[in-house]
């Protein structure tokens, strides 16, 4: 449910970028979705397709969501690894529990195409 608020922000930024770049009809938008956020791809698409109907510039817009997995780095030995949820693994190289998340906590708008 909380994807509604964030999708409104997605639309707001698209509107702002479209105006700034004199794009009156957005065709394509790519959104990078970190695997360690609490947002679900299906819900983002669902709300986007509802909200875009009220936006003149977004009538033909297609949202592409690029999922980016979580990455971690061991603060002890520097080894990197992947992670699917915030329950952090022990470092595979040195067994340390001093792990930091380096990727996957963001939702970012990447590209916009239109004319």
């Amino acid at each position: 449910m909380h994807e509604l608020a964030i999708t409104k922000e997605v639309i707001r930024i698209i509107r702002e970028e479209a105006e700034k770049n004199s794009i009156s009809s957005v065709k394509y938008v790519s959104l990078e979705l970190g695997g360690l956020t609490t947002y679900k791809k299906e819900s983002l698409l669902y709300f986007f397709n509802i909200l875009k109907k009220d936006e003149e510039a977004l009538q033909e817009a297609v949202l592409k969501i690029i999922e980016v997995g979580g990455k971690v780095r061991c603060k002890e030995c520097g080894a990197v690894g992947t992670v699917e949820d915030p329950i952090l693994p022990l470092c595979k190289a040195c067994d340390s529990s001093d792990i930091e998340i380096t990727q996957g906590k963001d939702l970012r708008l990447r590209d916009l195409r239109g004319n």
Binding site: I6, E9, P86, D106
Partner: protein
């Protein structure tokens, strides 16, 4: 057909170009940027007023408002300001006002969490003179408020034994940013079969840095511990800023 010159040659326009005037813009903007900017501004302004802002999180019924009442037994109520977030009603606001704690009620209606804009608006109606702590009791929810900045300096998660010991495993996002985890209704742990070892082991995998305080509602010693924690954090946050 090309809109610019009328030619039929699409191949000449490159692989990703459908119309002649199609633009490709690289944006790379964080979607939460507007909220984060407002939140950072609030956090900064509150430091300037020497106020520590606490984001108080937890399930409905976990004991968030009880914790505020407990804090107010150990820190003078007149230096505490509270913002209450609930879908409906001002039950909690009235409850706190009975203890002479100044409280502002936000009703989100269907909104599942508070955001920085709501706090900004609330602060516009509050008198923060002589306040030292601003406690924002977020909407009772272990999912949506996680990671949403509201201008807080620290996060406290209240997690009751009656909810079960599997909550960190099931809702790790709310626990991962907690500075303090308060295990409430600790006196009921045996009655409800709370597996403390498993709970603490999960916390150590999600947020090993978090301070943990166990709290039974009838014992004020844990509230005193929380009050000390808050005073220490306030010194720490203000000190960091001044140097």
């Amino acid at each position: 057909m090309c809109k610019e010159c009328g030619c039929e040659d699409k191949a000449a326009k490159g692989p990703q170009q459908n119309g002649s005037d199609e633009k490709n813009v690289q944006i790379d903007r964080k979607v939460t940027e507007a909220n984060d900017a407002t939140a950072n501004k609030i956090a900064h302004e509150l430091i300037h007023k020497e106020i520590l802002c606490i984001n108080l999180l937890g399930s409905p019924g976990s004991g968030k408002t009880t914790l505020i009442e407990g804090i107010a037994q150990n820190i003078p109520a007149k230096i505490i300001g509270v913002i209450q977030g609930d879908l409906e009603s001002d039950v909690d606001k009235k409850r706190l006002e009975q203890m002479n704690i100044e409280a502002y009620q936000i009703n989100t209606h269907s909104g599942c969490h508070l955001n920085a804009e709501m706090i900004k608006e609330a602060l516009g109606s509050m008198n923060l003179d002589n306040k030292r702590f601003l406690i924002v009791e977020n909407v009772g929810n272990l999912v949506c408020p996680a990671g949403v900045k509201i201008g807080q300096h620290i996060n406290i998660v209240v997690s009751s034994t009656t909810e079960g010991s599997d909550k960190p495993k099931k809702y790790p996002y709310i626990f991962m940013d907690a500075d303090l985890i308060l295990i409430s209704k600790y006196d009921l742990k045996d009655a409800v079969g709370f597996d403390e070892q498993s709970y603490l082991s999960d916390i150590s995998r999600i947020n090993p840095q978090a301070r943990i305080i166990k709290c039974s509602n009838r014992k004020s010693s844990c509230f005193q511990e929380v009050a000390h924690f808050l005073e220490h954090e306030r010194e720490h946050v203000l000190g960091h800023h001044h140097h």
